[in-house]
Amino acid sequence: MSVQGREERLPVAVSDEALVEQMRTGTEPAGEELVRRYYRPLTRYLHRLCGSEQLAEELHQQTWLSVLEHVSRFDASAGSGGFKAWVFRIATNKANDHWRSHGREKAAKSGLRLLTEEEAPEASFRLEASEQERKLQEAIDQLPANQREVLLLRYYGNLKFVEIADLVGCPLNTALGRMHKAMLKLKSLMDTGADDGECDVQTREQ
């Protein structure tokens, strides 16, 4: 269950940890290679986590600046998952920090968005090309935060369950429970959304 495995990947000639070592010494191409290697999984993870592409890019930049700042402290042997788990942990923390500081603003904006959609239903009608994505994002947004985190780390980060449990700071059993609940809820929400979508189409046709 991973987005990475289904995409064309750069040839991994040099391990992440070796690139990190080079990055420590200030070798710029090593940092560039790492940014490229993790660009897609990280930005897509952040996009689904925060629901906005612009914000995902901003958090992506912040993540790499944080990597650069703390790269001297990275210890590959300390935790499970190596550099990948570490960089996803930083990205998750950046997203959480953002929500903590902008939580009120987000609530206000989401209220405004719902109001706008009610007043102008044809606005969402124009987005038929990305209808499926919108439904997916809405379903993901409705998941409890801890379930969403585990599901997205699994899918986009392709992390092992043990690594996810370590990253989010919960027992393995809890992480697996959250994963199972997240999948059940997401399926249920997507099925409900699909039914609603079909009803909408029928109503419009009539």
Binding site: M1, V3, R44, H180, M183
Partner: protein, 193 residues
């Protein structure tokens, strides 16, 4: 080490680990044995597998539809930020951290004791505390109180002939001095001294 499996609280958790191929070899073999003999467990495995495939399929439908190429502009922006950060760090003047001189730990109790001694000396100097022997007030016994210095000298005198009879030496001296003063026997008082 068939331990991981028994730490997991539910069949779904075990089956998720099994499907992800993240169980240790011994646990995996044990799960396979159970699956071979337990029909309901096989149904649960099928349900968890279907659920996982369904969710993954939904996510894939959206993600695979997106262009797989790396957004060079976005990567460029991230790299520019990193380069700027590096330059800022390099340009930042190295601030010499002032070394705080700390006194050794053993010096604190000594300093506290010295301070206490100074305070007590000060208090003794202004007469708030008295470090001399405790002299009882005999004014209630005699209308004319004997001089404290005389009594102290009597009490400290090793050759005091009366000794501490019926109380301390000082008490006895006080009583005798009172008696001599009351009888106006100056000679006796001088003799005592």
């Amino acid at each position: 080490m068939a331990s991981v499996m028994y730490k997991l609280g539910s069949n779904e958790a075990v089956l998720l680990m099994y499907l992800a191929d993240e169980l240790p070899a011994e646990d995996r073999a044990e799960v396979e044995q159970m699956l071979a003999s337990d029909e309901s467990l096989r149904r649960q495995l099928s349900a968890v597998g279907d659920l996982q495939a369904s969710v993954t399929g939904r996510l894939d439908d959206v993600e695979i539809a997106k262009p797989a190429r790396v957004d060079e502009a976005a990567v460029g922006r991230a790299l520019r930020e990193m380069r700027r950060y590096r330059l800022e760090c390099a340009a930042r003047p190295t601030v010499e951290v002032a070394v705080r001189r700390r006194w050794p730990k053993w010096s604190y109790p000594i300093a506290a004791a010295a301070a206490l001694v100074f305070v007590l000396i000060g208090l003794w100097g202004v007469g708030v505390v008295n470090f001399g022997p405790d002299v009882p007030n005999s004014s209630a016994v005699s209308p004319v109180a004997p001089d404290d210095d005389i009594l102290n000298q009597l009490a400290l005198n090793e050759g005091w002939p009366f000794g501490p009879v019926g109380g301390t030496g000082l008490d006895e001296a006080t009583r005798r001095a009172d008696e001599l003063q009351a009888s106006d026997d100056d000679d006796g008082l001088l003799l005592m001294l």
